[in-house]
């Protein structure tokens, strides 16, 4: 863990100009990713987690987008890289797996051809046969049976789980250093979800593949992540190791996420309700802590937004943005005998 970070993000800010004003989708996110590490970024839709991930590989570059801060991969600054340089890096050094395997393959081309296309984009002298052989190899690595035949299938002939395996195979095609998985299991059945997570974990272990896992589901995080970032309304509200986040969560929003999980490690499996209310519109954020309107523990000081600070001396890398004292937190997060967020008053 003492290795130099492979990917280092500092104070990343991504804003989009819209008719209604500037939407600050990502607002000052920082983290490091080391080889072999799995970092989970957790949050509701609109929290900025996907935009963060896509900005790393330059997919959010657009006329109306404003990107500030720094993204360094192997010491190279990516926010200043040209579009052509970014293109060479995508798939080659950083690969991405998307949420919905149903729509992430082009329906009119064979899956095998689409993966060969990815290989040939970076290795133009690869022949079709070589490419196909590589795809078969990859299919076998990600557990797609009858790989020889399936390379010639069209996306709609694959089941959802198989398609996600094929997506992962495509991401692995050029042996990238970083894999970004954006909600890789959200669109899948529960049983398939577990299989895909196992696969990701296995790849991470076998290939020492640094992974960023984007999800709204802390249950997914529990299985594979080393470290966790919790995002809300474009900002990181809590970050720490998996154990710190699960056993000593500091931010009420994290409590809410944990409380709405089904947990079998509790004597009485019980699910608290989802966090009440809607995430705020990014065009019309409340003053101070943006979670304030949904937070039952809100008090006067919350009209000021706290920094992302380490508030526990024994956990120096565990940071959060909540004004409550650690003692208050320990007491308030106990709801019906487990960690959770009580309904707002």
């Amino acid at each position: 863990m003492s290795q130099a970070p492979l990917l280092s993000v500092r104070d990343l800010r991504v804003g989009f100009a819209t008719e209604g004003g500037v939407v600050q989708a990502v607002d000052g996110v920082s983290f490091d990713l080391r080889p072999g590490e799995v970092l989970a970024i957790v949050g509701e839709s609109g929290s900025g987690k996907s935009v963060t991930a896509q900005t790393i590989i330059g997919l959010t570059r657009a006329n109306n987008a404003r990107i500030e801060g720094s993204v360094k991969l192997d010491g190279e600054e990516l926010t200043e890289a040209s579009d052509a340089e970014m293109r060479l890096l995508r798939g080659e050094k950083v690969a991405m797996v998307f949420q919905d395997p149903m729509t992430s393959f082009n329906p009119v081309y064979r899956i095998g051809d689409q993966i060969v296309e990815a290989i040939r984009a970076h290795r133009p002298d690869t022949s079709k046969q070589q490419g196909k052989a590589r795809v078969v190899e990859l299919f076998e690595a990600v557990g797609i049976p009858k790989a020889e035949q399936r390379v010639d299938d069209y996306p709609h002939e694959f089941s959802g789980g198989m398609r996600q395996r094929a997506m992962i195979a495509m991401a692995l095609a050029l042996e990238p250093e970083v894999l970004i998985a954006d909600e890789p299991t959200t669109a899948l059945d529960v049983t398939i979800q577990a299989q895909i997570l196992d696969l990701l974990e296995q790849l991470n272990r076998e290939r020492n593949l640094a992974t960023i896992l984007i999800t709204h589901d802390l249950g997914v995080v529990a299985e594979v992540a080393d470290r966790v970032l919790v995002m809300y309304a474009g900002k990181v509200v809590e970050q720490g190791t998996l154990d710190e986040i699960f056993y000593d969560p500091q931010h009420p929003y994290t409590w809410g996420l944990l409380g709405s999980l089904t947990r079998i490690d509790r004597p009485r499996p019980h699910r608290l309700p989802q966090i009440a209310g809607q995430p705020p519109s990014l065009l019309d954020l409340p003053e101070g802590c943006p979670f304030r309107p949904r937070c039952p523990h809100e008090f006067g000081k919350c009209s000021e937004y706290p920094g992302l600070d380490a508030r526990l001396s024994e956990e120096p890398d565990h940071r959060d943005r909540c004004w409550l004292t650690p003692e208050e937190k320990r007491e308030k997060r106990q709801v019906e005998g487990q960690i959770g967020l009580e309904a707002p008053r």
């Binding site: 006329n63 995508r90 798939g91 690969a95 393959f105 009119v108 709609h156 997506m167 495509m170």
Partner: protein, 320 residues
């Protein structure tokens, strides 16, 4: 796939049947005037009207009348009465001119329409896009009966660059054939150029938001590869469907006005002249001929569509 084609063919026959019934109702049932009088033409003698009445069996029941009409159509006995010429002879004579006009115009509109639409889409929001969008909206607003006279006036009356119409068969003189067709081709194509560039542009902008385009970028394809292999390729599928329909509609109708303006002796001009003289048999004949091409092209389009989009092709055979 065979099953798919058979189903489309059955559908094609059904639509043709519907068209023939519409034609029958429109010409024989709806008008207040005695249909024999209408068929005979404006200056017909009472004797001719009487003969036509007997020939077409207007005393019979409606289904019987329909059968009589269809029998005439299929046996080539649908004739115009002054002078007596079988309608299908005239239609066959007109086909080379009509097809020369329609195919040339279609190639022009496809080429320019797709080119402008593509450029507009990849520069969406920029100044080129604005200019092209302006061009295309002007294009879809310029009807052939405005553009045709303007082009004739400038290019053949004022500056005698092109002849002002007429048709010279390709077999007679290919250069003249081309010279005579250039103005009509562009006249007929401009509206569709505007339309196709708009359609392609908006399809491409929709497709650009598809997840698989993001995937294509994420795997490191160049912007050009993303645009041509993924965005353009997928945006073309609906355009091709549209093209089949429009090409059919051009042969079976839209070309009529252009042919009339440029005095091109095609099927359309035949119909236009019949309209001017209020002669019904040629119009019935041309309507059925036109319907045949439209429906045939619809069917071809469906099959091509299925070929281009594997979801349709394989989905149909798998689910049924």
């Amino acid at each position: 796939m065979t099953r798919f084609i058979v189903r489309r063919l059955v559908g094609m026959v059904a639509v043709l049947f519907a068209v023939s019934v519409i034609v029958f109702v429109v010409f024989m049932v709806l008008p207040k005037q005695n249909p024999a009088q209408s068929l005979a033409g404006k200056n017909a003698t009472p004797l001719l009207v009487k003969n036509i009445e007997a020939e077409w069996g207007f005393d019979d029941s409606l289904p019987q009348q329909y059968l009589t009409m269809m029998k005439k159509v299929f046996t080539g006995e649908l004739i115009q009465y002054e002078p007596r010429i079988p309608v299908d002879d005239r239609i066959v004579e007109g086909i080379p001119a009509t097809f020369s006009l329609a195919i040339g115009a279609a190639l022009i509109w496809l080429f320019f329409g797709l080119l402008l639409g593509y450029l507009s889409a990849i520069r969406a929001g920029g100044w080129l896009d604005r200019i092209l969008t302006g061009f295309s909206i002007a294009g879809i607003s310029i009807p052939v009966f405005f553009l045709g006279p303007v082009l004739i006036y400038f290019f053949s009356n004022k500056f005698e660059i092109f002849p002002n119409g007429q048709y010279v068969p390709f077999s007679e003189d290919p250069t003249e054939w081309l010279k005579h067709l250039i103005l009509p081709w562009f006249t007929l194509a401009v509206l569709s150029i505007g339309f196709y560039s708009r359609v392609l542009r908006s399809n491409m902008l929709d497709v650009m938001n598809e997840d698989y385009v993001r995937t294509a970028r994420a795997k490191g394809l160049s912007e050009r590869q993303v645009m041509t292999r993924h965005v353009l390729r997928n945006s073309l599928i609906p355009v091709i469907t549209l093209f089949g329909l429009d090409f059919g509609a051009t042969i079976a109708g839209t070309a009529i006005i252009t042919e009339a303006i440029f005095s091109i002796d095609g099927v359309g001009n035949y119909a236009a002249e019949a309209v001017a003289k209020f002669e019904l048999p040629p119009i019935m004949g041309v309507a059925l001929y036109g319907a045949f091409f439209v429906v045939l092209l619809n069917t071809i389009v469906d099959v091509v569509y299925a070929y281009l989009d594997p979801r349709v092709r394989l989905g149909e055979s798998a689910s049924e």
